[in-house]
């Protein structure tokens, strides 16, 4: 439905290099990347606010690269909402309808209908200068959706909202997607991406690193950046050097499931499959390494311990285990994991 082909653009300190993505009708497509990765620029490019130096954009097989911004049938909600401060909520939502020269009656009906859908009909006569972040967000969505855009572009829509508002907006976006709305959503939050997307693209420094279903991207990250970005910190360059031995970062050897092909790739050691102990364990785990605690960082589930075993490995433990083990930086500790918990991803 929407296709970007070989897009190149440089804008101030941001750039996009040879970007090609394809979004199908009804997709909830999330572009995931750090701040400054060029995500917002991609949205502005699709909307027609900026032009690519090279490459083409197709919407339903029509080349819209040079099409006027007003004729693209693409709606965008900016990160800062871009609500017009000199108009009340009604006039903000009515603005695109007035531009389309609809009658006053039609404008009123459409504004009321969309504001009811977004639960902001009680705000229609309010000034926008004293609305909350969530109310501004809904007003901006209503103003964009009132035109029934073929593609809805959302620039970090959840970033400025508190937890309850995030949930409510997520639900609204899911409903909108279910109704068939094609959505492209950029974010730096991988949990947000997983919770909404049916397809994810990971962008880093203006380049597309990986694209696919959320499960593919998170279970089979194809780069260190993607792995780190998706919360998988134990991701390393590695190589099968014998049937069951993998050499990680040319530093340590681990035992993994047998492989017939000796190839290069990546290893993931999922944090929830790693165990620590104060003495060498005698368990069925075949990988046991002694290392020193490099750092201890509070995490959502307790503590994240970084252990240096030649490579840095991140282990998540509960606050209770942390206190039982009496851990501190510099302390020697054993790290264990089973061969079948090692995930090897061959390089393409």
């Amino acid at each position: 439905m929407l296709e970007l082909k070989n897009i190149n653009i440089t804008f101030d300190e941001f750039s996009v290099t040879n970007l090609s993505i394809a979004i199908k009708q009804g997709d909830y497509y999330v572009i995931l990347g750090e701040s400054g990765a060029g995500k917002s620029m991609i949205l502005e490019l699709i909307a027609g606010i900026i032009k690519a130096e090279s490459g083409r954009i197709f919407l339903n097989n029509e080349d819209i690269s040079d099409k006027n911004i007003q004729k693209r049938e693409i709606g965008i909600v900016f990160q800062d909402y871009a609500i017009f401060p000199h108009m009340n909520v009604f006039n903000n939502i009515a603005y695109p309808l007035k531009n389309n020269k609809l009658s006053k009656k039609e404008i009123k009906n459409k504004v009321i209908q969309i504001s009811e859908e977004l639960d902001i009909s009680h705000l229609l006569n309010r000034k926008t200068t004293n609305l909350s972040g969530g109310e501004l967000q809904r007003t901006a969505l209503a103003r964009t959706l009132v035109l029934n855009p073929k593609v809805l572009l959302l620039d970090e829509p959840l970033v400025a909202l508190d937890v309850s508002l995030k949930d409510s907006l997520r639900n609204f976006l899911r409903k909108l997607h279910k109704k068939g709305q094609t959505i492209i959503h950029v974010t730096h939050d991988f949990e947000e991406a997983v919770s909404l997307a049916n397809k994810i693209a990971v962008i880093h420094k203006g380049k597309l690193l990986q694209e696919g279903k959320p499960s593919d991207v998170f279970n089979n990250p194809q780069s260190e950046f993607t792995a780190h970005f998706t919360g998988n910190k134990n991701f390393y360059d590695a190589e099968y050097i014998s049937e069951q031995t993998i050499r990680i970062k040319n530093t340590i050897n681990i035992i993994a499931n047998p492989s017939e092909i000796m190839c290069k790739g990546y290893v993931i050691l999922p944090a929830d499959t790693l165990f620590i102990s104060l003495e060498k364990p005698f368990t069925s785990a075949v990988n046991n390494f002694e290392g020193t605690i490099k750092s201890i960082v509070p995490s959502r589930f307790g503590k994240e311990i970084i252990i240096d075993i030649g490579i840095n490995v991140s282990v998540l433990i509960t606050e209770k285990s942390f206190q039982n083990f009496n851990l501190e930086e510099g302390k020697y500790i054993w790290l264990s994991f089973k061969a079948n918990s090692v995930r090897f991803i061959p390089k393409n």
Binding site: E44, A47, G48, I49, I69, Q70, I74, G75, I76, F78, D80, A82, F84, P85, H86, M87, N88, N91, Y95, P96, N99, N100, K127, T129, R143, T144, L147
Partner: protein, 251 residues
């Protein structure tokens, strides 16, 4: 120290008001020459302000939004009339509207002579006062977030409609302030105007003439009346602009 500066501004004005009796003021207000001069000054300055606003506001917008070669030079040129002596500005204007200039010849062909004409006065007023409008409008447009204009474009507004519905209303406070400054500055202009048109006499020229011909005592009442009118206009415009802003934000 600051109080001294304030006293320096207010002191001469107060002393002038104190030195002028109410009889003198009433007599001056009833003086036809004074009345027609004040009428001419206000109407020409007002017309000039509105005429040049049509040209200056879009220019200010372009300067605020577009980058082009020699932009800084252009901004410098716009400020030039503020720094050059106004009599020299008058000579420059006279040069382009006198009968042997291209503009003068054209005016002559349609039976007009800009020299000694309200149009010439208006041009002299505009020359020294239009930078105030351009600079204020430029600052106003600069303060309008570009993102709002981009959002309006994605909401199907044409660039012209974006200008009139987003940029202009949001920069309005600065623009009105610039219009008031231009009007006030044009109304009080003497140096440039006196070169272009001694007659018909705008009030600053009339004050000078009365001073030259009859002395301080006769120039003072006209000055007092004109200052009162200037202040009244200034206050009225300010109130109007504030009210308009309030109405707009309450919409």
């Amino acid at each position: 120290m600051g109080g001294l500066v304030l006293l320096f501004i207010i002191g001469p004005l107060i002393s002038m008001f104190v030195a002028t009796s109410s009889e003198e003021i009433i007599e001056t207000v009833n003086d036809n020459e004074v009345r027609s001069s004040i009428g001419l000054t206000i109407s020409v300055s007002l017309a000039t302000t509105f005429f040049f606003a049509v040209l200056a506001i879009p220019l200010a917008y372009i300067l605020a939004r577009k980058d082009f070669i020699f932009k800084k030079l252009l901004i410098g040129i716009i400020d030039l009339p503020i720094v050059i002596p106004h009599s020299a500005a008058g000579i420059a204007i006279l040069g382009i509207i006198s009968r042997d200039s291209v503009l003068g010849k054209f005016a002559d062909s349609i039976g007009l002579n800009f020299v000694g004409h309200p149009i010439g006065i208006g041009l002299a007023m505009a020359f020294v006062s239009v930078p105030f409008l351009i600079n204020a409008a430029h600052d106003g447009f600069k303060a309008v977030p570009v993102r709002l204009e981009k959002a309006a474009l994605t909401l199907k507004a044409s660039p012209v409609r974006v200008f009139f519905t987003i940029s202009l209303p949001l920069a309005w406070r600065n623009i009105v302030s610039g219009l008031v400054m231009m009007f006030a500055r044009g109304m009080s202009e003497f140096g440039a105007v006196v070169i272009v048109a001694y007659h018909p006499m705008v009030t600053p020229v009339l004050i000078y003439e009365r001073f030259g011909a009859f002395g301080l005592k006769y120039a003072r009442p006209v000055s007092v009346v004109f200052i009162i009118i200037c202040i009244l206009f200034f206050v009225a415009f300010r109130m109007l602009s504030n009210k308009k802003n309030q109405l707009r934000t309450n919409k």
